[in-house]
Point group: C2
Chain length 196, copies 2
Amino acid sequence: MTDGVVERSRPRDRILETARDMFHKHGIKGVGVDAITEAAGTNKMTLYRHFESKDELIVECLRANAAKAGAMWDAFEAEFPGDKLAQLHAWVGKAAAMLNTDGRGCDMANAAAELTEPDHPARLVIKELKEAQRERLVTLCRGAGIGQAELLADTLSLLFEGARVSVQTVGAEGPSTQFVRMAEGLIVSFRGTAAG
Amino acid sequence: MTDGVVERSRPRDRILETARDMFHKHGIKGVGVDAITEAAGTNKMTLYRHFESKDELIVECLRANAAKAGAMWDAFEAEFPGDKLAQLHAWVGKAAAMLNTDGRGCDMANAAAELTEPDHPARLVIKELKEAQRERLVTLCRGAGIGQAELLADTLSLLFEGARVSVQTVGAEGPSTQFVRMAEGLIVSFRGTAAG
DNA sequence: CTAGGGTGTTACCGGTCTGTAACTTCCAGA
DNA sequence: TCTGGAAGTTACAGACCGGTAACACCCTAG
């Protein structure tokens, strides 16, 4: 019941969506393929007809997460076309909202914590997405006329990442409650010393 | 070989130390009790004579981590007695050094990512340690004469936490390289607006 | 020397894991 | 209506998981 997502669609999509949800909630090693297929209203054979292994399913889930994250950034551009500063503030707001959805942190970071083999195929996807997100944040900061755009982007990035794990360890009432204040303060501070 | 730690000491200590090391390297769910006891140069029965379950072993490992972290804070006080500002800078340095030891993040955060059951006994230990660390950081900031001590402590805390997961996802050459600059900049900035 | 507790050894239990084989059912398109 | 491919079903392989029982051993304290 809690892990539903059994609407009528192609089995592959249901498996992917269900796996994403269950990996997010229970961790990757905490979910078996049997549980996924059952929750997706299908069976193990069908899963292995569409994904050659659990590892490939994991990678595909992470890619789907990356796509969703990319769509979020596009939404910022669509809402505030050309106004990078407004997009930056929108990102802060969206990030803060994410902190209060559930107690689970970033799927990418969690996956990195679980999949310790240094050559696991998922690690590449994780690194790519994280670097892409940094790039987009840098672009926003630069476009907002901030001098040390890279430094601000990295600082905000670490702050958000830290806030997500803080929610996971001490809960949503911990230091993460101050995230917006910290982020906005940093933006003001960096704009004050702008070189553009 | 890589997971040695089989020196001659009481079996319980060897098990605890070996488990700590292996949990750190391979994750909690990535290591079985058989592998631990073998690496510790003992056997499963001996493990279950000293720990009533794997979960209790996990908790005990986290407690040992907490104790080690506590010792680190005490070392700051011992090295710079009474000088909270110097201790704060020492913490920044120590934190930065930790980022370059290995690619694995904080054991507590990783454990929180893996142990998703909300009432898992380990979650309590994790929360306690994280709150204790925040408390100590706040004390340092307050003792250093910083007005908004809580806010600075929380900011530094999130920054460090974020840096550790960043190392785990994109590697040590990512945004975490700027950690010291960010932290020191924040300290300067907060001291500038000190309220006495 | 002896007694006893900590330790090591072997075998096992029931369960779960990823992954596969062989077969049946269903359904859409020609 | 026929056909081919996608999906479902059942059973299984082989490995590993956490945890336990029964018993042999060794070393030290008395």
